[in-house]
Symmetry: C2
Subunit: 329 residues, 2 copies
DNA sequence: AAAACAGTTGGAAGCGGTTCCACAAACTGA
DNA sequence: TCAGTTTGTGGAACCGCTTCCAACTGTTTT
């Protein structure tokens, strides 16, 4: 096995307390002694055991993230932003994906035992479980998820951007809307729905047709697209709750011989990479995915260090990205 | 703080050894005693400290993964496959992304101290560092990366698929090839290059023009595409080392008023989601991304548990995916 | 009935660090 | 010169668990 602090102490001819102080720069150690310790540590190729340190310090120096999946760019980007900041703050990131898992509560509890705090995305762990974690005093940040008492929330703006998007589409003359997303697509999707409904209502236009999805991915969007676009009463525009759904709709339209945006307009949400490369390029709402992750990491750090004790909600701004699929150009 | 094993022992009126045995089912404990312990643990809401368990067991029950980035679907998909299997094997996954980081060696060493073994992707940590880790006896699996003595390698087939791809393109009548990838694009890209070169050489066609990229993403492909396609001596086909690069090339071609595949053919590699949704749909080589991750997780588990001590190389098959961007249809 | 035995159990020794506390040595100021 | 710091250091007490070992109980074997 590798060298322990006792080996270093013996080699340097000092006590383990002095080794610890010399290596981590705490307490005062005579320069000459420090150098002797450093040399001994170097010679033995000593690296402090992370477990020993954590046990003694009473902290893991690690955070957990619970997300549904990394299929699709959204969660991956958020995770990336999160990991970057967490790493800067000296914390490792332990991941847990829940999609397709059966024993989610057990996995989440296990994860909670390995970290100082965790970030939980929407559509992963049930709220009861989150409440249970919060109750044990585990710092928790909720990402794009309905609030739970005692936990931070980080999310991006939805309702207003949805309203702006809908108003833009109304400006194109579209009147018959379909919204591909619900039901219970999670807090964020619900807010987008509300925003669209509000805009149409204000304009005196009939409420959008709500189209339920089994999942938020291309296949699901494709199936829904075929279903919605094939009927006689085809909508003017399909507002999709996610870009991937919209990509599936674009494919469905192509297969049905429909031209987007002439025959039907399509919009997405998130502004993933593929959105700009689709044909036609997708009009969508850009979410600051990296910033969401970064914001969650900072919020969690504040809760863990105790820099802040009161839970807080952080809402990041989004941006309407007009391309061609709405009817522009 | 939360209850410890001592609290449970006291409440149940037994020793901590008995509590440990009762809870983890090791050793023999009288049924009546076990039930008393279980009840006490339940009442105190006891969860064994992960740090205490790990320190005593001498293992972390966690693995690390080092990857460049999660921008783009490739690494995300592999990571997903990895996490799924690791989780099944009872191991948590700690992630570390290196792109844009300055202190990579320190970060990797720190990570190594928190895990029982790690997976290192290509283009992240320098080989010297990996060799150092392997030398300390840390089980290591290399993913799509040049081998290091003592470490497992998991990768997917490159040279043969590249040859097949090139032969298909030759069948379309293309003769002037450009390869967007090198130099030193990593072991996998080098193999793809070799495969293409071999096919052209066998057909008596001039060797491909090698086009260096600053990075493997859409922007980089876009810039390279503008450069290569704008000249007088435009190639017949641009073989890209990655789908994202190819997507950038498609955009460049569109901007230059070129029709793909009539004026120039384009191919990618990986078969990411966007490849099928691009216009024209991208001919590419599908890598089994999830399986790569899953294979790495299993290989690492074997090394950690000692089920296998000799390093091994696992090469997964790929599949040529013919769509329209090569000239088909 | 004595001896061998299987089943239970608690004490204590780690695992590898951090840090409190006591103590000695060297320094400060009057 | 002497009391009162300041500095440097080691011993030992944790942190929370697993597991070896010895002891103790109640059977079963001879």
């Amino acid at each position: 096995m590798s060298a322990t602090i006792y080996d270093v102490a013996q080699r340097a001819g000092v006590g383990i307390a002095t080794v610890s102080r010399a290596l981590r720069g705490s307490g005062s150690v005579r320069t000459e002694t420090r150098e002797r310790v450093l040399r001994a540590a170097e010679e033995l190729n000593f690296t402090p055991s992370r477990l020993g340190v954590s046990l003694a310090e009473g902290r893991h120096a690690a955070n957990g993230v619970v997300f549904p999946t990394l299929s699709g760019p959204y969660y991956a980007e958020v995770l990336l932003g999160y990991e970057e900041v967490a790493s800067e703050l000296g914390r490792s990131v332990i991941i847990l994906s829940t999609q397709g898992r059966s024993a989610v509560p057990e996995l989440v509890r296990d994860l909670a035992g390995r970290v100082d705090g965790l970030v939980v995305f929407g559509r992963t762990a049930p709220s009861g479980l989150v409440a249970e974690l919060v109750a044990t005093g585990k710092p928790t940040v909720l990402l794009t998820r309905t609030p739970v008492a005692g936990a931070d929330v980080v999310t991006s703006e939805n309702a207003t951007s949805a309203r702006l998007l809908a108003e833009h589409l109304l400006g194109h003359g579209h009147r018959r809307f379909a919204f591909l997303g619900g039901p219970s697509g999670g807090a964020d999707v619900d807010e987008r729905w509300s925003g669209v409904v509000a805009a149409l209502s204000a304009a005196g236009v009939p409420a959008p047709q709500g189209v339920a999805l089994e999942a938020y991915n291309v296949e699901s969007g494709h199936r829904a697209g075929l279903r919605v676009l094939d009927g006689a009463s085809r909508p003017d525009v399909l507002v999709c709750a996610q870009d991937e759904v919209a990509l599936g709709v674009l494919r469905a339209a192509r297969e049905l011989g429909l031209d987007v945006p002439r025959d039907v307009a399509v919009t997405g949400w998130d502004d993933i990479m593929a959105a700009g490369h689709a044909w036609p390029p997708l009009t969508t709402v850009r979410q600051p995915m990296r910033s969401l992750g970064a914001g969650a990491a900072r919020a969690l750090d504040e809760l863990i260090t105790g820099a802040r004790t009161e839970p807080r909600t952080l809402i990041l701004p989004t941006e309407l990205v007009i391309r061609a699929s709405c009817g522009c150009d």
